[in-house]
């Protein structure tokens, strides 16, 4: 049994310690907002927060997350929509939408550390997240808007 705190809720999961956090969250905890894309930390679709910092859950063993606070996309704007989620809506960012959980979690981690990122800082922070639909121009614009909203 491994105890995880997912979106503020403590849960006991009967899983092998080497199971990637991604599969523990999706298959065992039943939260499917976090996506599988590559299994090798190459695409960012599985991004979630561990103690507030973006990590790739597809290569993080579930045992590493024990005792830490996990936030998934379902918990990002649980009480009030996160400014990034609102900006994503305002810019109609998603096409297929599949990678957007990871994009949002990565962007949220960026804004938590730097609420006024430059274009270059946005590019750097988001360069690990692939969007095959090509929503990158809108992701950039939405992050800038959300940063402004966070500042005001």
């Amino acid at each position: 049994m491994i105890e995880l705190t997912i979106n503020g809720k403590k849960q006991q999961l009967d899983v092998e310690p080497d199971m990637p956090l991604l599969w523990a969250i999706r298959d065992i905890a039943g939260l499917t907002g976090t996506k599988f894309g590559c299994g090798k930390a190459l695409c960012g679709a599985c991004t979630l927060h561990l103690d507030g910092v973006a990590i790739r859950s597809c290569v993080t063993p579930v045992s590493y997350a024990a005792g830490k606070s996990i936030t998934t996309i379902e918990g990002l704007g649980a009480e009030k929509m996160h400014p990034l989620q609102q900006a994503w809506i305002d810019h109609s960012v998603p096409q297929c939408g599949y990678c957007q959980s990871g994009q949002l979690m990565q962007a949220a981690s960026l804004l938590a550390q730097n609420n006024n990122p430059s274009d270059k800082e946005i590019d750097q922070a988001m360069s690990g997240n692939i969007c095959r639909c090509g929503t990158y121009p809108r992701i950039r614009a939405a992050i800038k808007d959300a940063a402004k909203a966070t500042q005001s």
């Binding site: 092998e16 998603p94 096409q95």
Partner: protein, 743 residues
Amino acid sequence: MSTVLKMDRREFLKGVGLSSGALTLGVAIPTGSVLAGASSNGTFHPNAFVSIDKTGLVTIIAHRSEMGQGSKTGLPMIVADEMEADWNRVSVKQGLADKAYGSQNTDGSRSIRRFYQPMRKVGATVKDMLLTAAAQTWSVDKKDCLVANHQVTHKPSGKSLHFGQLVGVAQTLPVPKDVTLKPEKEFRYVGKDVPIVDLEDMVTGQGVYGIDAHVDGMLYAQIERCPVYGGTVKSFDASAALKVKGVREVFVIEHKGIPTQFASVGGVAVIADNTWAAIKGRQQLKIDWDMGENRVYDSSSYRRQLEQAVNKPAKVVRKEGDATAALKATKKRITADYYLPALVHAPMEPPACVAWVQKDKAQVWACVQAPQGVQQVVAGGTGLKPEQVEVNVTLLGGGFGRKSKPDFVFEAAVISKRIGKPVKLNWTREDEVKHGYYHSVSAHHLEAAIDDNKVSAWLHRNAHPSISYTFDKNAEHASDGELSLGFADLPFAIPNIQHENGAIKGHTRIGWLRSVSNIFNVFASGVFVDEIAAARKKDPVDNLLELMGPDRHLSFDESGFKFSNYGENIEQYPYDIKRLKEVTRRAAKNSNWKAKTKEGNGKGICVYRSFLSYISMVVDVSVQDKELKVNKVYCVVDCGRVVNPDRVRSQMEGSIIFGLSLAYYGKITAKEGAIEQSNFHDYPLLRIPQTPEIHIELVQSEELPTGVGEPGVPPVAPALINAIFAATGERIRELPLNQRFSV
């Protein structure tokens, strides 16, 4: 002409899960022939799209699959507009696989173009019945009643009833045969930016994709497949796999021989309690494979075969005048050879589904582009009848043509039947890259004759394994459909034109990938025409406009070429040179084409009509010390009447990035029959720092709507190559570019 039928309401409600007391309508609509690889019988089918409940909630069925292109929003917008529904009181539901809807085969950039008029008629029919219902209720003349914003008003008295209040009477009425469509200038939603219906779900993690489907009690499967297409399991040892905690069963999935079509390529399946246990078990398998006949496939020797095939006379596809004689007689002949590697789709969501096969029925939840095809394929794999297979279409985490091929659903169904339980199968990225339906590798040889500085002859010979090979082991030539994709439909007014297709056999499954053969054919012609401009010392835009020739509708009747015109009637959707020239001029204007560029910078252009839409791309690059940077891309699109402009813009943005990805990195190769790439480290895709500034202009048009999802892709790579030439004087004739530049 469409006809409208009344449906069995209970059947319909079962499909959409609504309470009783609702008005529902079925509408028969025409479907027609389709693009490469798709199936259609060209007949009329009854359909059911709209229901209204007593509260006034209008439910509209989205019968096409949503993979990012936006038709799940666009088609219901059309219905809502015609029936004067308030979009805020419309709920959009995904339809099950059902012939009643007409074709659900979501590819070929067809959703809006094929269903624009039928959806209008669906909406107009509902509106007419609501008007009649109100007139009957009030015993007034229907002509004095008006439908607007979800209610009917009697103009003289001012009284009104909302849609829900009219349901009771409306459902007793006969369905009118002929209804009047509203004037297009009165559209309330069509032509406006409307957010997609799943937007909020997508940003909160609530969207359900194939990989997210869940059935209580389901198990999880992984399949180890033969590295070579057509190979089979000689023997396997599952003892270590079965020791992995959570692994329940290991067995062989049968391979039925080449061509596998949409069945499984076969392999060894591991069934477990969760995905991770299945993956770990799979890693422990020891399998002895018979690699089969395709173990001879090697990309470097295959390249030589392709190049040989295009450097000798081949099957003539289009012949106008006598290009051979003109090329022999000319004093100035230019030639060029081009080569483009195979590609794989790489949607962010790999193929994934849940299947549950029971004695007399099967249910699947899957990210599929062609749900009716899935019924056939699952029936074939389980012995059930197609109508016993319920297909629930989830959201698709990208499709790009991969999810038109339901081999993964076949696999899940076969497994579920064997274990007697629901099963989730999700392909890994490695599975997706190594066992694809690949976009063809191709070689091209082009020649042009230039006499008195005019182009007097054009010869284009191509060779590539055909999509037909996926269905016919002996196929050696491209189909008419493939040859109509950017090849023999060359739009230039040149007196002598010849197109030839070389013979070559396939060694992998070949599939259609976003814009299909247009990718390599438009690359070859789009770069070669720029080489002609350079040889003639003419500005590339002036050269293009001159070669496009006088405003006219193209006809290929005299040339022996059977132009498929994307499955549409050429009278209804002509190949209009005037529109092609217009997007060319606009792109030149938007990009300030003739302005001088800095040292190491350059602009390139490519213009083409595909999927009936006219698209121009101008790419602006910098090249410094072998470092390539795309600064800006200008795109002009004429796709007829636009339903949801924001989604057309987003498709163009996506197409540009998709086109740059394949230009920079796109390369799938095989050695001893096995695909060498495996994941995003060796099959990279464009990332955010490489994203250029993008400028898009939509041509305002009242022509019929045409394709949007695909036609943006083909002109990107050739425009980029032409820009590199403008910047450096270096002419590149093969992809991908990361072989030459740091990108």
